[in-house]
Symmetry: C2
Subunit: 117 residues, 2 copies
DNA sequence: CTGCATCCAATCGGATACTG
DNA sequence: CAGTATCCGATTGGATGCAG
């Protein structure tokens, strides 16, 4: 696999390219939630409580630009926006699922403790 | 999946934990190369030509510390060091392979052009 | 409600120089 | 040959304030 260029950015392997599209802290968690149903911005915000709205907004915007998610704006007051996963986004779900399961295995191996709550 | 703590660092989901172990620019390419055989530092350096030796050294060190790779030092002059994948590292290979194939699919979809050489 | 602007802190990665 | 030390720029992510 030779190097290649996309959007004026240099990549060295397919994994690097994939991670540029669905990597980062929030994109996979977002796609994972959109797997089964539409979500509103505020619902995602509540679910991904550790994400600032700026980061959430940024991740969603890129996912929409790259065609993994569609955005629907309802001209109401107050405004309502719904995010839906696309076919391209659905193709990422098995990858995310495998990464999830692998992460769960690793957690076992490293004997991670869960905090009391 | 609740949040959890490991090595004084907070994680929010299994994917995030997995990526903290095998993510970053160089770890997967390294593991992928070690899949079938031992590699010397200089061989990895030559193969991952875009990685500075500092970055390569850093990634290898973390992979060794986390038990994905073992390091064997031969007391010769000049010194020789060989890196070998462990069982834990082998478990990452199917994940990397899936991510690779997914990346290749995405490259097709996005119709990435390869530079002339 | 949805999200952008601005500013800032932390992390990541590159360049260079140097050592056992 | 196989790294480490140092310095620096780029990128990522958080906090706050504000706007349609």
């Amino acid at each position: 696999m030779p190097d290649f260029v996309k959007d004026n950015h240099l990549f060295h392997n397919p994994v690097e390219f994939a991670m540029s599209k669905i990597g980062g802290t929030y994109k996979m968690p977002i796609l994972w939630r959109l797997k089964d149903k539409k979500w509103r911005f505020s619902e995602l915000q509540k679910s991904l409580s550790h994400a600032s709205d700026r980061m959430l907004s940024k991740a969603l915007k890129e996912l929409v630009e790259d065609g993994f998610v569609t955005k629907e704006i309802f001209p109401e007051v107050p405004p309502r926006v719904e995010y839906t996963i696309t076919d391209r986004g659905q193709k990422a779900i098995p990858v995310i699922e495998m990464l999830r399961n692998y992460g769960l295995d690793l957690l076992q191996e490293f004997e991670v403790e869960h905090p009391k709550r």
